[in-house]
Symmetry: C2
Subunit: 414 residues, 2 copies
């Protein structure tokens, strides 16, 4: 059976009305690519059996493998089983074994069994049920005219569990050619600058794709191939050499995780003092498992007087330079380093907008890092709206710490 | 011309590979519904002129109005103009006026004009160009076999600007029947509890839709109609009466904005002390324009000793109860209220996971609010993973403040 091209159909009125962003399609696009199936078509349709069936027919025209998500629950709105049966030209049959398993599951939770949940034991004739470890909606697997059709539940964690258990391994085995992807991530440089440096150093061989993806101050440089993974090694090595220390990971880690791992290895801790970011740096540094072994805490010094009162910025610095100034950023970083008892202090101050502040334009930002070996400030003029300015500021201060960590000898206790 | 049903086609390899989540489709779904156009079909296709054309033909089969997004830039990958011309059966023609406007735009930025940008002046015969205030890619408007086809740029801020200027007003005028939507938002109650209370009190009339949407601790109760908007008034009033003070807005505001507006009207300020949320409460309270008139700042007390050192939680409270305890939450709220000079202090402490802490299970959370009239603590056991626990915690502490503000007389200075 061929399994080179894929199509994704998402079912649910909420997707068409804009109530829910279709993150399942993005996840499946990446997961299927990893299993060697190239998604060529993605669609969303409402909870209407004829529209779902039409979307499935079109998807089966376009692709070898079709994955439909959503509409497998117990309510009257859940019509994907009916649509799959219609497209396959087979009846729905209730599985006594699945019904018993559903009853057992409800009993194990101590819940009464709702009669409408029996519907979830209906299976199109010839289809296999795919086990769902994390919910009550089974997936389905069916062959239709030599094409593979999978139906998966809509809640993202259920979709992912059923796909990982019952879909991706089969597809990876069918396609043989797995796509291998390697990526480098760069902070603090523009996309065109990154591309220029990579392309001056790297000749991309036949069968390797190169893509740049930019957002929130980070540029991803991605190489992929569906051929021999070994072909990527020299390419990635050349790109890494060209980017040098500007690339912060080859392992698809977030910048906060990279910084956290370096700190943990050194036995050092960081603290944050935030003005325009209001807590986003702390949120990032506490966002992953294990963050307590590198992050101590910090200060949110949104009101100007708190920069003095909580973080110890000298009043004469604030009087002379204002809240948005390199001197203030540096003093904030030093203040929080001291007050939170950390090896490193981070600080952000700036104008997120929409209004200017102290006569300084929207996008004026200063980030600072204080350490045992001194304080570094970087002054920026960031484009975009309030959300964009704040998000890039977080990246810039974490990247400044990363660069300082690269150059500084580890602290001897503190 | 009929304009009751709509279809959205998004163009770009990055959508199929999962590199970018298709937020444009969600935005357009909601915006078109607001202009009286019900989206019945949404698709994403790669940068391939034949696939784009096929997707457009299918969309034109399904709907009166088709909006295609992306692929209008200057590069060789940008093929939407060609696909639109192919579907309409007309040639592309270069517009001298548009080319001059492009040249003028580049000159005004002080950039040289790249020859490949001339392509953006190509227009399918019979199409109108739609002005783009915020970028260089024009939109297109074309009638194809009595159906309306709009092509809009892919970057979200450009899409929104062109749609607002050149698409939505025309559609709203054509449909006459605008969809009117009213929603209530509720924090701190489960979806089924909200539904039970609403449905006991409200009889939903013919022509009105009722939907529930839940996420991050907030349930939205949405009524919509494409008939006379007046029919919604008694329904919304009945639902509002049934939900009482549990509903925090009828105006589609975020909880942080509602709380911020109440504080501003009272002339009061809030401060935050965060453990498991690591800065997310501060991020929310600084996330909208005008937040400096109600939020002062706060403390991130991730490490246990900082709960004492920075927030003044008595050491004997920490020794007796630990970091995750109602007593500690209350003391944190009181401490930050005092130290940040605010009328109100908020605190969060708990176990986000994945490991338990101090023998307390993942999802154990205590939130607290301290004010002039005392301190309130709410203890919770939240389901879900680290991200879910942290997000719901933010909602719960803001909602606790909202309820305190409802009951407390305004402060007299401080």
């Amino acid at each position: 059976m061929s399994a080179r091209t894929g199509a994704v159909v998402a079912v649910g009125d909420e997707l068409l009305l804009g109530d829910v962003v279709n993150t399942n399609a993005a996840w499946l696009g990446e997961a299927l690519a990893g299993a060697g199936v190239h998604v060529v078509h993605s669609a969303a349709v409402g909870d209407d059996v004829d529209r779902v069936a039409r979307a499935l027919r079109r998807a089966l025209e376009d692709a070898d493998v079709v994955v439909v998500t959503g509409g497998l629950g117990p309510t009257v709105d859940d019509l994907t089983r009916e649509a799959v049966a219609q497209v396959a030209g087979v009846p729905l049959e209730r599985s006594a074994a699945l019904e018993q398993a559903l009853r057992d599951r409800f009993a194990s939770y101590g819940f009464p069994f709702p009669e409408q949940a029996r519907k979830q034991a209906d299976v199109p004739r010839g289809a296999q049920a795919l086990d769902n470890r994390v919910g009550s909606a089974y997936g389905l697997r069916l062959e239709v005219d030599g094409r593979l059709l999978y139906a998966l539940p809509g809640p993202p964690h259920e979709l992912r569990a059923v796909a990982r258990d019952g879909v991706l391994p089969e597809l990876a085995a069918l396609t043989q050619a797995r796509v291998t992807t390697r990526q480098l991530k760069v902070a603090g440089l523009g996309e065109s600058m990154v591309a220029e440096r990579v392309e001056a150093a790297v000749t991309v061989p036949e069968g390797v794709d190169l893509a740049y993806l930019a957002g929130e101050g980070v540029v991803r440089v991605r190489f992929s191939t569906d051929g021999d993974p070994a072909v990527l090694e020299p390419v990635v090595a050349a790109a890494a050499a060209a980017l040098g220390d500007d690339a912060f990971t080859q392992d698809d880690l977030a910048l906060c995780e990279v910084v956290g791992a370096v700190l943990r290895d050194r036995g050092e801790f960081v603290a944050s003092a935030e003005s325009l970011t209001g807590g986003m740096v702390g949120t990032a540094l506490t966002g992953y498992d294990g963050s307590s072994s590198s992050y101590r805490g910090g200060l949110v010094v949104y009101a100007t007087d708190l920069k003095h009162a909580l973080a110890g910025v000298p009043q004469d610095v604030l009087d002379a330079h204002g809240a948005v100034a390199p001197e203030t950023a540096g003093a904030l970083a030093e203040g929080v380093r001291e007050r939170a008892g950390a090896h490193w202090g981070l600080a952000t101050t700036g104008v997120a907008g929409p209004q200017e502040q102290e006569g300084k334009a929207v996008g004026t930002v200063h980030v600072a890092v204080a350490g045992l070996d001194g304080t570094t400030v970087r002054s920026l003029r960031l484009p975009g709206d309030r959300d964009a300015v704040r998000a890039v500021t977080v990246t810039m201060v974490l990247d400044l710490l990363r660069r300082r960590l690269r150059d500084a000898p580890p602290a001897e206790g503190r």
